[in-house]
């Protein structure tokens, strides 16, 4: 199924590297395209579920991109969205089953949201925008890049929300008890709720756009 007739391109050509790297900064799915916000708000109250959600999304986007890219010549245009959804749904249910077997506690926390990866705009967005028109390897890199950049953003949000909301990182107390006792420091309850994620995400987008110099048209 590989495009043998076209000239062989080195695996890590400049173009391929750009495909992989772009989503992190120049074209970040969350902070620039503002996709996948629903799950970014929902699962990031703590770092651990954020990380697991990130890994799950990386797996789903990369595999879905590869699968759709392999099938792209055979998919009838009229039903392509249905076929894409079927592939994504299959992968997501697979992830859910594996989590339930090997990471039960986490799967209980995520249960609802793992299913919601199916509706994560990033996944369908990459399939439509990239995998339907590109070869398998670049599609894989594109999926990996977008998935990882999504994972990175929600991990950062999760880190700050857990730190400020409950004084912990990955469940370990990091804010010293003396601070609570002597200085009257209290955890910020807002950070545990969804608005906390909005604030962190907003700041993150600000920082990111200042660094990259991106301006809305």
């Amino acid at each position: 199924m590989a495009d043998a007739t076209e000239a062989a391109e080195p695996l890590f050509s400049t173009k391929n590297r750009k495909t992989f790297k772009d989503p992190f900064m120049v074209n970040n799915p969350i902070t620039l395209q503002v996709l996948g916000i629903c799950s970014a708000l929902a699962v990031t109250a703590q770092l651990k579920p954020s990380l697991v959600m990130g890994i799950a999304v990386v797996f789903v986007v990369a595999c879905a991109n590869v699968t759709i890219s392999m099938m792209r010549r055979f998919i009838p245009g009229r039903v392509r969205i249905i076929v894409e959804m079927t592939v994504v749904a299959t992968l997501v249910i697979l992830v859910d089953q594996v989590l339930r077997a090997y990471a039960f506690e986490v799967s209980k926390q995520l249960s609802l949201f793992v299913g919601l990866i199916i509706t994560n705009c990033i996944v369908l967005g990459r399939l439509e925008a990239f995998a339907m028109g590109n070869k398998v390897w670049p599609s894989f890199l594109d999926g990996l890049g977008n998935g990882l950049s999504y994972a990175a953003v929600i991990a950062i949000v999760g880190f700050f929300r857990e730190l400020m909301g409950s004084g912990q990182v990955l469940g370990f107390k990091v804010v010293p008890q003396a601070l609570y006792d002597n200085l009257g420091y209290t955890d910020n309850g807002l950070m545990v709720l969804a608005p906390g994620a909005f604030i962190i995400l907003g700041l993150l987008i600000w920082v990111q756009r200042t660094v990259s110099g991106h301006v809305e048209d």
Binding site: A42, F74, I75, P76, G77, R78, V79, I82, V83, T86, V87, A89, T90, I93, L94, Q97, V98, R100, A101, Y102, F104, K108, S111, L112, L193, A194
Partner: protein, 241 residues
């Protein structure tokens, strides 16, 4: 444009391949998932019994072997030694047309001569069924612990029922009034202290509700009443002896 036949065949193939893949995965992982569920259930029984330490799988089994016995009772409060209590499903039993043939599981936990009882509670919330356990002190009146181990309520609203702040409200509440008549426990709308200000008797049967989750709260009230009712005859017999 491809022909309709091609489209139909293609989509069918994709669907069949996907479903085969999923059923294979589900079958292969079933055993492990069931084991996880069973362990989580036992851990929740322990939590309801007031064992706060999180035990791993062998430790849980050992605790159960040492301290916990499971048996079945009927609606008249008699122990049925014939019934396989471990296989009893409360929902299946509820549907049996003959009330006299229904059997319900109950756990008795003995730690240093202190006996506590733990019963399953199942009911409906807003979106989903709620599954939990409630345990009583040896006086068969005071709540020792409550947990919910399975539900599909809205995170942040109905799902708060599994959080400690909500569950801890139940500790020390009474299921009977002073004359020993079964009352159950009510989840009120808002604060229990406001709803029944100054009424100590009512307050001992009421806990704070969850704002934004009225239907889930009502579901909890209903399931507590319905499911505890099934065990009241047995508790009465125990007291009589």
């Amino acid at each position: 444009m491809r022909s309709s036949t091609y489209t139909v065949v293609f989509v069918s193939t994709v669907a069949i391949v996907c479903s085969l893949l999923l059923s294979t995965a589900a079958t292969l992982l079933r055993e492990r998932q069931d084991r996880n569920e069973a362990l989580s259930k036992k851990q929740n029984i322990l939590k309801a019994l007031g064992v706060t330490k999180k035990l791993d799988s062998p430790a849980v089994d050992m605790f159960f072997a040492d301290h916990v016995t499971l048996f079945a009772i009927d609606l008249e409060g008699n122990i049925d030694p014939e019934a396989d209590a471990a296989q009893l499903d409360m929902e299946v039993e509820d549907k049996k047309t003959e009330a006299s043939s229904r059997r319900y599981p109950i756990y008795r936990c003995t730690i240093e001569n202190e006996v506590t009882y733990c019963v399953p509670i199942i009911g409906r919330g807003l979106w989903s069924k709620l599954y939990g356990y409630l345990s009583l002190e040896s006086d068969l009146n005071t709540v020792k612990g409550l947990t919910f181990y399975k539900h599909g309520e809205t995170p942040g609203l109905g799902a708060e029922i599994e959080k400690d702040w909500f569950l801890n409200n139940f500790l020390g509440k009474k299921i009977n009034d002073q004359t020993g008549t079964f009352i159950s426990i009510e989840v009120v709308k808002g604060k229990a202290a406001d709803a029944y200000a100054g009424n100590e008797e009512k307050l001992s049967h009421a806990v704070d509700g969850i704002s934004g989750a009225t239907i889930t709260s009502r579901g909890v009230t209903k399931m507590l009443h319905e499911d505890l009712t099934k065990y009241v005859p047995y508790f009465k017999q125990l007291e009589a002896n």
